[in-house]
Symmetry: C2
Subunit: 229 residues, 2 copies
């Protein structure tokens, strides 16, 4: 087994470990991710991985952060491709990008929105900024709608007493946001997540409806409900 020359390709094996981890997740699910399995596939021994990640959980955290970063990039690019003065158009754009990203990277989708890995607890202070960056894109569009007087949510239920703490956690990481915008964003997200997670898990749209058409129908429902004018 040839050794790497000192200080040459220092990050190569780190990247190879991560991409082999993704490969394992693709093939057998996040649950069966294992350091020994990765090492086996890379033709190295398991302890070698400890030169790059202190613990298995640190590898998982790195994967989650990569996934959120990729997701956030897609969301930001989609939003910013539509002019700022057209928040309704931005809403549709990020909705479409959401599904496209999920279909392009189903493993990444599963890792951050699906099955938690048994025994793994995400270190919130490391992961939350990346989660907020990506999920905050939808929040920012809802906020823009509200600022433009186009948010139709007068009948939206009110925040319950005693939940200011959860809200301020978001504000710490995700920046300023109106609590109504945040809540509407979560409901919208629950709709697209319901549909997309179903599609990803089954690899088929429900009962043979064309996936593109069904998703466009769903986005139209959301626009009809929440956007005025």
């Amino acid at each position: 087994m040839p050794r790497l020359r000192h200080n040459e390709q220092p990050a190569d094996l780190q990247d190879a470990i991560k991409s082999t981890a993704w490969k394992q997740i693709t093939e057998s699910g996040a649950t069966s991710l294992s350091l020994r399995g990765i090492a086996r596939e890379l033709g190295i021994t398991a302890p070698a991985i400890y030169n790059y990640f202190q613990r298995r959980d640190d590898l998982v955290t790195a994967l989650i952060i990569d996934a959120y970063t990729s997701f956030g990039d897609w969301q930001i690019n989609a939003r910013d491709a539509v002019p700022q003065d057209n928040p309704a158009g931005r809403m549709t754009a990020i909705g479409l990008a959401y599904r496209n990203w999920a279909r392009t990277h189903p493993q990444r989708y599963q890792l951050i929105f699906g099955t938690p890995i048994p025994g793994y607890v995400a270190p919130l202070e490391k992961v939350f900024p990346f989660a907020a960056r990506s999920l905050g894109v939808l929040v920012s569009v809802v906020e823009a709608l509200r600022a433009a007087g186009q948010l139709n949510a007068d009948d939206f239920p009110k925040v319950a007493v005693g939940y200011e703490a959860a809200f301020s956690t978001w504000k710490n990481y995700g920046g300023e946001a109106d609590v109504l915008s945040l809540s509407v964003a979560v409901l919208i997200w629950s709709h697209v997540h319901g549909l997309v997670s179903l599609e990803i898990a089954n690899n088929q749209p429900p009962f043979g409806i064309n996936g593109d058409a069904l998703y466009l129908y769903e986005l139209a429902l959301i626009n009809k409900q929440f956007i005025r004018g």
Copy 2:
């Protein structure tokens, strides 16, 4: 350790195994369900379980069937508590029952709609009848709406070519149903599932919106969209 008398309490230990399994699932998630863990908690040895279940997977299958049966009972009871000539009322009733059941039995919800257990593959021919019985309740209500001319789904996307096979699988187990009703039912289900699975997993409604109010709002959205008159 006292032995059971012959032919006395023949089903007791079987039930005890199942309820201990549920307890494990509640405490540590379906993924970490293990025969040895169950035996440990029951104060018996692991091989004793093999007198009641031939394989670990048979136990899991039994749990899944129990969960679907419980879910189906709630759905059927909720539907039949509203007169047949009021399908819109039935829709709201089963929607409320859906969330109530999930909150009453979050472990059961997780087991059938959440994380699959790694390495476990459900035997479809055993499980599908129970799944169809429970999920078919929503389908039957959508069908009733359609029959009464109250289903508002003229603009619903059409079924794609080549998916007749998936549809006929449903018909085999779930009985007669219109493919449009089936597809609308799946979209409605994806909405409530998105919201309820989020609530179950977090043990909190999104960002402090009162859970009851938010769910009623969602059910109202569904009615507004799909029910005419």
